[in-house]
Symmetry: C2
Subunit: 129 residues, 2 copies
């Protein structure tokens, strides 16, 4: 299977919130932003995102892959509840992006480098923060 | 020429600070983070970066390209003077990353989507901001 197809299946899994299938896509020893958090914490992080952002949906807007690396620009159009990334969003409608790189080993995501455009998000909030 | 080779030549140009050659790599009508700033403002933005960060150097740590899109994780190990991204860096040593996507048209960069990891940078500053 092409890496980009495999990645799209991972995003489908996230959008269906089928965390029980996450192990099909993510390595047991996954490293996230330099920290070896493992599959369990990775899954808990996603569960936290679903809780904090009830209408969370991952939209791929740009995708490239080469050898074992995937890069994706993700778009989020949603209403985070309460705090998000230390910002008081409190259910306001926001659109923001994440730029994320993934290193695949043995067909699964082994390492993730993620940067969220927090400045873009902050600019949309009432009484800019 | 492969797109990734072309991109590496662009980064070499930035590191040599040969802005006079920028037009070889960047379109006259370049769009940066959604705004059609054009080559002149793009060049001025880089000149501003060189001024604000005297030891600025672009290090490619991850690079993927596919059809007309390049994605790159860039690493910066430097000492920004005074303010940078609204943070009081004042010459402190910082290491931070940028995740950036480029759309090529006719062999030149036509569109750029850039996100800098500002949180990573802020975490390194004295009296965290």
């Amino acid at each position: 299977m092409e890496l980009s197809t495999k990645y799209q299946a991972y995003i489908d899994c996230l959008n269906k919130r089928e965390l029980i299938r996450l192990a099909d896509y993510v390595s047991e020893d996954v490293i996230y932003n330099g920290e070896r958090i493992g599959l369990e914490k990775y899954s808990a992080m996603l569960a936290g995102n679903y809780r904090d952002i009830p209408d969370l949906k991952f939209d791929i807007v740009l995708l490239t892959s080469e050898s074992s690396v995937v890069a994706c620009r993700l778009r989020f159009d949603c209403h985070p509840e309460a705090d998000f990334l230390g910002l008081q969003v409190n259910g306001q409608h926001v659109v923001f992006h994440e730029h994320v790189f993934y290193k695949y080993i043995d067909g699964k995501i082994a390492q993730v480098w993620s940067v969220i455009d927090k400045a873009e998000l902050a600019d949309q909030l009432d009484g800019k923060q």
